[in-house]
Amino acid sequence: MSNRVKGVGLLLAATLLSANGQWLNYPAPGTPRTRDGRPDLAAKAPRTRDGKPDLSGVWQSEFSPKGEIDRLFGPELRDFAVPGDDPTEFPKYFLNLLVDFKPEDSPLRPEFAELARHNSALRGTISPVAQCLPQSLPRADLTNYAPFKIIQTPGLIAVLYEVDSTNRQIYLDGRKLPVDPQPSWVGYSVGKWEGDTLVVDSAGFNDKGWLDVVGHPHSEELRIQERFHRRDFGHMDLGITVEDPKMYTKPITIKVTLVLQADSDILETVCNENEKDRAHIEKR
């Protein structure tokens, strides 16, 4: 096998096996339904007791429109998909956060171009997910081969990721971002309401995460802002701004849609359970 070993695919075996569990297809109470009993994704967005939009639910980034991925990337980015995946359904920004920029307009500072090229060339072997390490933001928001679950309480949101069964906290109690944060994979997140939009600012990232599949790097100066707006019961607009003045000349802003996975839930996936790739990964 070439050294362009499957990157995303490494994570998936457990997902595929687990999908027959009884966790799915549980009709969640409080879900509005159409006359034929199916979840009514066009119904109004729910609100919490205190009148805020309720973002709670199982969410996943929508699939790419047919043909988009082939048009943008050709066959190049199919190498990381495993049987059962359709890589043409992955969001374009998940694959390449800078896909909207022409090469000559890339905000990546020239001195980091070589690092980006290195990452991309070796993405199957040195990417965090290839090593069962966390997939960090913004990638965690965009992954659509596995959903995540938002549990919203007045002072705190817990986010549970199906990918490798990890969690993240978003503080809604008015605290500020720490001034001198300890770098971590998941970062430190605080949120506040602007009208019906939840604005989440995150900092405190380490510099080991990748922004996307092709391996755009970031430094510890990375800051991410997510703007969550639940448009209706079944859809959430998500705007993401990525800022890293050390490595990028300007902020990168994208907009995606999350789709509610009604009557469903997150399953358990454990990357280290069946990790058989390291043995095949050549030392370089």
């Binding site: 069964s165 990890t166 906290q169 605290r175 001198d180 971590s184 454990v270």
Partner: protein
Amino acid sequence: MHKFAPMYKLAMLLSVMSVSLAAQWPNHPAPGLPKTAEGKINLAAPAPRTPDGKPDLNGVWKTSRSFLLNSAPDLKPEDMQPWAAALYNHSADNYRNDTDGINCLPPGPKASIALGGGYPVKIVQTPNLAVLLYEYQTIFRQVFMDGRALPEDPNPTWMGYSVGRWDGDTLVVTTASYNDRTSLDLGGHPHSESLRVTERFHRTSFGHIDLQVTLDDPKAYKRSWTLPVGLDLVTDGDLIEYVCENERDKQHLVGKRSEEFSVPVNVLAQYVGRYDTPVYPTGVIVTLEGNRLMIDPGGAGKIPLVAQSENTFSMEGNIVEFQKDSKGAVTGVLQHWTEGDRPAVRRK
């Protein structure tokens, strides 16, 4: 700043933890803390309630009694089914070098039994769903409280499937559907897929949850038993990130217990005593039980020392080295950990 007792971390569980302890994250005080007239936090205040009148279990908690090393303190050997006893002994003979934690795999029922000991757990409670966020491996559990029953033909998972219901002011959480690849404790007590764990959470005051954990696995044990785990509120702390990204322990867990070096008892007796170190406020206590040297590295409980030479011993895989001065008097004990050596000086 709190410090979550590093003594509970046996080699199998660690790696990056000590690096993360420097974080400033834990310093944000918990919201809504009741105060005494003098302005101190009043942990004896009544337990809070949610808007719908149920006891409110939200908060960051650590276990008040840890059963991480041994979840079956009162279990007799004959209480174990033969296969379970054989597996337990096999694991112990091999320094438990193939357990879940050493392979960066999830803790399974250990989450209910003992996590919150070395690492805290955060409870996020909503009317229909409670979530337990664990610092260890940043893993989580969902507890469905919407009235659903446990699945009948479960797909085995590492962390099981949990449902909860209120029994008066006690939240009763039942968990099944575990796979059989984890152990109940670091000592290696095994379990089968039939394991059922019942956790009874009763918040008796603002600062304390009386948590009783019942383990029932008839395929592995001839009786069930209940552990008084208890949870104490962490008032100034929060979870910090734990990622199993730097696993370096397995390579050290070599050899077999049966290959023990023979050390005369009068030599072992020289090592008995108390050793002081800033790492463990309660000190490192070395005792002799029969012919077996035991070490308590800071309140974690006694762990047998298996001789590798006259002055080096294996503490569940970690090497412990006794030091002598030129006259042959024992001066200290050095624990070799993945994160670095931990010296302790013998108390005069």
